[in-house]
Amino acid sequence: MSVLDLKLLRDLKRLWAQVLAIALVIAGGVATIILAVGSHHSLDETRIAYYERFGFADVFAQVRRAPNAVIPQIEQIPGVAAVEPRIAQLALLDIPDFREPATGQFISLPEKREQVLNRLFMREGRMPEPGNEQEVIVTEDFASAHGFTLGSRFAAILNGRKRELVIVGTALSPEFIFAVGPGDIMPDSRRFGVIWMPERALAAAYNLKDGFSSVSLKLMPGASEREVIQRLDDILERYGGRAAYGRKDQTSHAWLNHELDMLNNMSRTLPPIFLIVAAFLVNLTLGRLVALQREQVGLLKALGYANRVIAAHYVKFVLIIAVIGIVIGSAVGTWLGISVTKLFGSFFRFPFLLFSRDVSTYLIGAALSVAASVVGAARAVRDVVRLLPAVAMQAPAPPQFRHFLPASLSFDRVVSQSTVMMFRNISRHPFRTAFTTLGIAFATGILVVSLFTRDTMNVLIDVTYFLADRQDATVSFGERRSADVVYQIAHLPGVLAVESSREVPVRIRYGTVERRILLNGKPKDAELSRIIDVELHPVTLPQDGLAISDMLARILGVHVGDVVEIDLLEGQNRTVTVPIAATVEDYFGIRAMMDAKALSVLMRETPAVNSVHVSVDAKELDSFYDRIKAMPSISGLALQRVSLANFREAVALLVTMMAGIYAGLAAVIAFGVVYNNARISLSEHARDLASLRVLGFTRGEVLRILLLELALLTLIAQPPGWAIGYGLAWIMKAQLAGELMRVRLVVEHFTFAMSSVIVIAAALLSAVIVRSRVYALDLVSVLKTRD
């Protein structure tokens, strides 16, 4: 080992605490890259593998009743690789010791052939015996939510007839990775389950012998989804086909996509911040180290060491720090990535998880960190190379300070000398001061963006559950019903108010942009399920025209007054034109609403409903539930309170996890910046501080002088930190905004305050650590050496 390398190792050892503080910030950057990219890759690969191994379909369609005879026709559509016809029906469940009605998505299992698409991953048990009318397979989480084991029994109301069912197996399906019941926003495994039963039994219950009500297609590589859907719609139209759709509109797939996009976005927003701060810290620390070793550099040069060798010496120093950071960051990032993948995996119910060990992620993380470090080191190394040996070996010229005010206007009556020292130091290092402030501001900003999700979710909950959808429950029917059913529901026990809702699947189009959505017909003065405008005021539906989600308006590029084209995908399947009358604030899905009467005119039908919103007296819920369970036409019951609780739970999980990770990372930044600055000022001012101690200043007073500047910078950094946080929150909001879900940007004062408190706490922690250094200051030896 060369003598220079020996010096390098000793320098590293001497400066270990600062080295570690910088390495931790670099580690933060590496960890965020690996965490975000890694968990995204893992989940994406898991999904791809799951889809492939279990034959997840590409195109889906529902019909009222189609004969099996049309299947060969579907198989012959160009580009179709496989067809899976089946019976799919929603039905209410009656579960022992569970008072609310739950909904089951019943799906038939073929008996004479193997399942081709959307195959089951069996967790436990076996397939039902062919022809058995009682045996079923249920989704695993539904079974575990109710404590069901193999052999457990529950009842279902299939087409109006109550039937006893027995569980013979539990399974997972690529089709229901994210399984949401009718009218719900979040999965609730207690109130919604997927139930597979033999084809003959289900066909018998729904009078669908030799027919099907749902079909899934697998496409050949390169086939046009759009064309296949068009051909499929043409074939199924006369059987009550309700417009086929691709994976993009399949609920489970779309939600999964949304979550994966979020992870992907995270990997683009956070790491650059860490790497910028790391580069700054390297710059600061190395610059100071080189300044302190000026004479040694001069000596080395005088001895004949080449500039290149000396520059390499300091670059090596930085690279070692980067490597330490990369190692720590890779380990932590891998661990966090696995944890996040597992969390998402359990949330989404994957049968297996593939942990991506993509080397390129690690290489990118490492390369970016090395680049940031070397860029940070550039200035210090350049200074080394420029120094002439003779100049270097002399003491540097004394620093120049300036008066703030004319000397005659004396400061000392207004502020103490230590304050004057602080201001002069700040004015002498404007670059360093600015970057220190910026670094601390970034820490605050990262915290704001991690904590703002809570505020935003609160607004989302307020608007969705308390301003807009104020009903207690929504009763949905498997089929369109005549409006009379509303009065029937109104007379159920405990019902205080009712409100009808008609849902028609449509394609809405403006220019070349089109979306498949539900067109919702509401009574004019809807009181339960209201429409909220972008100013958060309830609005009355206009007599004519559509009220559409603000998001949908932006996707289509329409404004109030523009006229859109609508393909009605039910009934007479006509195409009509309707003006946009209002835009609506909502956070889930994209939808269009219109006056119920106007919709029935458009549909050329007598007033009809698909679901009824109800307000129920809490005291009479039990008898309300009992009567609902006995009504054959009802296919689902969504409960607002339960839905809200589920949503809160899911959000709490995500927010707590993310806030935890981010807060930890932000604290690392704050600590790294403050600690390094404190240590550098300590080494720069050791002599001054020792002088003060000799003059009779106590250790506490000396520490205060040392840290006053950082305390001030920490405080000054807060408002820009809040601004950065708000900006990052805006970016997050923009990236979150999708057709499935979006948020309103709200940051409460409490969030700003909390972020600052955490950053200040991290700064205080570094102050405590620096304190021991100040206390150990050797007064005599410092003062006896030349500056």
Binding site: P399, F401, S416, Q417, M421, S691, L695, V780, L783
Partner: protein, 235 residues
Amino acid sequence: MKETVFSAHGLTKVYTTGEVEVRALAGLDLDIWAGEVVVLLGPSGSGKSTLLNIMGGLDQATSGTLFFKDQELTKLDDRGLTAYRRRHVGFVFQFYNLLPSLTALENVALVTEIAVNPMTPSESLALVGLQDRMHHFPAQLSGGEQQRVAIARAIAKRPEVLLCDEPTGALDSKTGIKVIEALLSVNEQLGTTTVIITHNANIQGVADRVLFFADGQISKVQKNETRRPSAEVTW
């Protein structure tokens, strides 16, 4: 009867570095009286600085006792020593140890802010002849001027003792004389007990007593019946 300011008995300081023990002070006995100017002379490593540091509360003895008036310094902890330095001691070092970011006046004010009964910074600077350079930063002053600011800073709190470790060590003869003049004038005007370490044997004439150090002991004491004026000091 002269008042005793410092009284040392069997004062010993042992530095241990690795396996080597160095006896910097080897059972030293000494009394220093109020208002005296004492010069400590001796080769490097003879114990002068160690004694000065212990007297100034910058270092602690290994054994023996040292009293400042009736306060036993050898029993004080760090907090006690800090308070002692703050109230009673002024220091002047070979390197001036001024804070570069403060002007001459502000460097002095640093002390007057925490002292009990200080003079004003400008009074103190006037005593060392720097009334015209008060608003200059250290970088704008010559070495001798900087050292005089250090003296002004040391005496601004009206200390009972002024401890100077080679105050002229970094100066040429002309500026060195000015610094010595400043020290003596403070001694005359305020009656501050002054202890000066020097390698310059020529300074000894200005002292009341000269203590010669060797191997951690006082090897010889020289009493001057009359102090020579500083102007007669030659380099």
